[in-house]
Symmetry: D2
């Protein structure tokens, strides 16, 4: 992990600030948790400004009325009906919508040359038949899927730079892929039976009035869900396969935590080599990454250490010196797992310092 020494960056940024124009940002679907998180983070972004945010249901309402933490920062910004004209005038449009929405509007935006970061699942899976099967609807623009870039910067930074459409990875997929990546890229583990035991805070389920996500249902309890099959499974397997150039079989068991933010992935893999300094492997793999922090040997990352921060913290264990390696990987599902990563992607697309707008620390306690 790169050192965030404030003093150093400050100087860098200031010079830049005098010459760069502000990037005009549009947000589609800004009433959910990834929407408000985009606004929270962009409030501290020195080179981007939100000029439009859409919501059919809340059109006309001030964003600060819906989310009072925004009061004083976005007092002029109101939700508006989605309008391609308005969105086309933006330099970049974020989709913070349920699946199916982005693909409906995408062809027109692409045609007009707008650059897009899609936080939804619409453009993540290259095999659109597989997508259709997991998401329960046919895909309406497979051609754009073909050109879209999967936006995991630590894996795909170069492709993101010039992409027009970037699919921001899902929350579980981010934590799981970053945890497995060095092992797979070096061919160190048996890829026929990987296991990802993951747990997410409730904000991952979105801001919809469902009984299952009530405080009285989730509080002081813990459960797994979707064990027979979760939509992030094909996305993760696709990503892992790309890292290793062979088919990968993953058992993926997500769980629901009685907390708001945070994903913790506990990854299991069988080593197929005798000796390997895994700690060193991971430290080298992520040495130049600002947002992946390989912790010292023996660590147990806590989700709160990344609460509100665009950061993935990773630790590696090999219990009892046996053959099974255990990787621990934590992110804030709304930041490195969604809105923070989307801004990181935008920074790459526009040639900015990748850390711009993403310097907040995790909230402890």
């Amino acid at each position: 992990m790169i050192y965030f020494q404030a003093a150093y960056h400050r100087r860098l940024i200031h010079c830049w600030a005098l010459v760069v124009e502000m990037i005009k940002v549009g947000i589609v679907g800004g009433t959910g948790y990834t929407g408000v998180e985009l606004l929270r983070l962009l409030a501290s972004h020195e080179k981007a400004e939100v000029v439009a945010i859409t919501s059919r249901s809340e059109a006309g309402i001030s964003v600060a009325e819906l989310f009072p933490n925004l009061r004083g920062y976005y007092d002029q910004l109101r939700y508006s009906e989605p309008d391609v004209e308005v969105l086309s005038s933006c330099d970049v449009v974020f989709f913070a919508t349920p699946h199916g929405v982005a693909m409906a509007m995408m062809p027109e935006l692409v045609a007009r040359g707008v650059r897009v970061v899609d936080l939804s699942a619409d453009f993540r899976i290259k095999d659109t038949d597989l997508w259709a099967q997991w998401y329960g609807m046919p895909h309406s623009c497979p051609d754009i899927v073909a050109q879209a870039v999967y936006g995991l910067p630590e894996q795909n930074r170069a492709e993101i730079v010039n992409a027009q459409v970037v699919a921001a990875p899902g929350c579980y997929p981010t934590a799981v892929q970053l945890g497995f990546m060095p092992l797979l890229q070096h061919g160190l583990v048996d890829t026929s039976r990987l296991i990802a035991n993951a747990a997410s805070g409730v904000s991952g389920a979105g801001r919809q009035g469902k009984i299952d996500n009530l405080f009285a249902e989730v509080g002081d309890s813990f459960k797994s869900y979707a064990v027979p099959g979760h939509r992030h499974l094909p996305e993760i397997e696709q990503g892992l396969s790309r890292m290793t150039n062979e088919a990968v079989q993953l058992t993926f068991v997500p769980h629901l935590l009685p907390m708001i933010r945070g994903i913790h992935a506990t990854l299991y893999a069988e080593l197929n080599v005798d000796k390997c300094d895994l700690q060193q492997l991971f430290e080298e793999a992520y040495r130049d990454e600002a947002f992946v922090d390989v912790m010292p040997a023996g660590s147990h990352p806590q989700t709160r250490s990344v609460k509100g921060a665009n950061m993935c913290r990773i630790a590696i264990h090999q219990p009892q010196g046996r053959n099974t390696v255990v990787v621990l990987s934590v992110i804030d599902n709304l930041v490195k797992g969604a809105s923070g990563q989307a801004i990181q992607i935008m920074n790459i697309m526009f040639g900015l310092d990748e850390r711009e707008g993403l310097k907040g620390l995790g909230l402890i306690p």
Copy 2:
């Protein structure tokens, strides 16, 4: 799971009640969470009565002063200094103490013929060298370890009946062993790489003033701990080995949940048979058990469904029809994982209905 139809049991119990004397119960170390939970459960036990409860630090204090939920039920009961005379006059003594305490007092109690249920770790592991290595002190009475019975009723009921000293299983070991048992007893899985990914509520860490267990440290966060090695690992491996009569290798990763009660174990094993009706296997294995509930196929047990109840709920999955079987197993760590199981053991030892004092339902919501 046996049906708990209240009306039926009531009749049975009433007849019995007229002839049986009350069992006199002593509790050593009653100021922790397993201590107060013993008291809560025994308040509804029709055939047992707590006559002594010891605590050096709180001697003289009423139990209801320390735990106001007991007000109105135990208004005469006060903590007293541990006294072998007093304890020897009990029919059964529960140890709800940190490790090391029970083994120090045990020889004298055993000599006097008292029957003991030890909720601590002192008599769980048969290999006392292994015990010494994990618990950091030599074992002071290996001979009693040799005669002690490991008190997992679903596995060892017959041995418990006539035992003088029973070691109640740990909380993680209960959830994990009940989840793996049918698979191991039928030799269906590869025992060289079992995985138990488990998570516990904070009450499992006990009632001691440690920074790590403060609300401000645990709340709204999640982490693993003791990945290099947790004391329950040798206990679980010993138990699993007994089920299968061969050495077992388990990767055990415990996690700390931001909730009070409950353990959730997510178990992974590689099937070594082609076809097997796992649902039927589990249902048959636990058909006659009052406290193991095999849920319908496709279920995801929640810890809250057993909150406050002496119950283990289990579900079995085989995701994507692949080779990896996933067993989900939940208990309340303080009930089926500690005090409830101890009472279940006592009921077996004294020939009572196994359900006596253990009929409370889980608290939803």
Copy 3:
């Protein structure tokens, strides 16, 4: 508070059990939190049996499928469409419904002689115009309101015995009225400016899919709500006025707690007498009550001490010896604040031991 010595009650109950028939219970609207709580508590009731439970939306579904904590206790019981014939065959019918439902079915049930305990707000307020104003609909059977008894046993026990329709008090009103009652009955405080600052767990908001009650909205936060006017205000003022025989003005500010169960009321009143032993006053007032526990002087009752229990714990303070008395009153909103109190009412109506089915202790931790 009466002493709950288990041994004593047991004997009493057993004799009784041989001669009393089981009371047949019907429940209307059993899919909410007060519904499942009625089922949980009645599972341990020795003299009552649930024979029917209705729900339009879940008709045909087993109650244990919706609420897995009930598995093993109610495996035969399924939700059915509401049917006056079936309900009329019950000895008592509980309404666990939103307001407006009970009053629609009540005339027919009353005509058939069924006894009813209504957990909803329909029959609590005697002034039906006032009711209509706060609940936003006209009242359809003011005549039954007139004959209905307000079911706060500690105040109205005698009237409940022979009542056909009993309106179980609301959750806040129970905690607030029990806290103020001795002060008002003895005319010790200025009734023109009472203050009730109260806070409730989220289960009080019911089991409906509303964004406001999501874990991600309520968790790790605290707020007041309905400060301009909450529906429980007129109910409380009516009850307090009855205690003192004069008009009462209450400022009532409810708050929403990031927890599931429990109400905590902090009550403020100005003493209009110079000297008064408030501790003794309260202890005497509730000496014979099984479900009101006046704690020792200087206490601070915790909501968890009554979690799952039918109990109201009260403490009285007079900070700095000044004129303002502070009463602290806690209940479990779903038990003493709803379903437990409804069962207590039923016990009174049918001449049973008032504690039957209500002997569970609060869950600590």
Copy 4:
């Protein structure tokens, strides 16, 4: 509340940044929650740099080892033994210590001309006899108390500018005083019986291993505490008296919330005027304040809207149009209630933009 339009401030700040030297900051007692919060906030401060942080118990340890959210920001900073030489070389020293520590070191620091912001209680109460009575020890430097400034910027900004020693207000006192201030300054309410019903997250109790603050003790429960008398009472009464120039009597009842951060104060006062536009009164009172946000009429501020942010959100109600005014006031106890306010004070002392380092938004969800 002043508008935080990011674009505007950015420009302002950049110019300034080129000419101002960095302020050297020392922190005494940096292992508690206010210590780590100072570090988190100062990481984004453009004109201050932490050069020393002391802790006897953790001397030699990296701050990022203790608090992993700091990794990447403070990798060079280690705890050191307290040393007056080192601290004297700082421009400003923050005390984030238990009471009694600051007053022991203060004379020496003052003599050397260091400016100090004390987050502890040592210099808040002018009457040192009263202080001694509530804090259980004599005060060792009453002369410095006499010259110290009570650092509530919204009340005392002018005095802070040139102060050498500033006592940062307590968390409860901040929320309560800001909520009452406009009413008292305009003499609108009866000051002989004010009521402050307040509730705090557990982080307010500090980072010490006490049973009472364990997750298993605090979680899913709610209670009041210190009703007979809390140390913040004399501080608040002193502050309120100053606003109104007469003696003030306050009934102050604090409560402990099952959450980490946040204070919610619900204030009650009797109006002594017939008509008054309270909403307008408050809006005008705080019009020029960057960190007090008067919400629209009818609002209910949530603590989460200020989680992590240096902000006090206030709403005013007059329920039923009666005589009792209800003010709702929320802060993050660790930010506007401690470390954020301390930085705000420092900014005032050094002539910086008051918002520097304090621009983070509250975390929703």
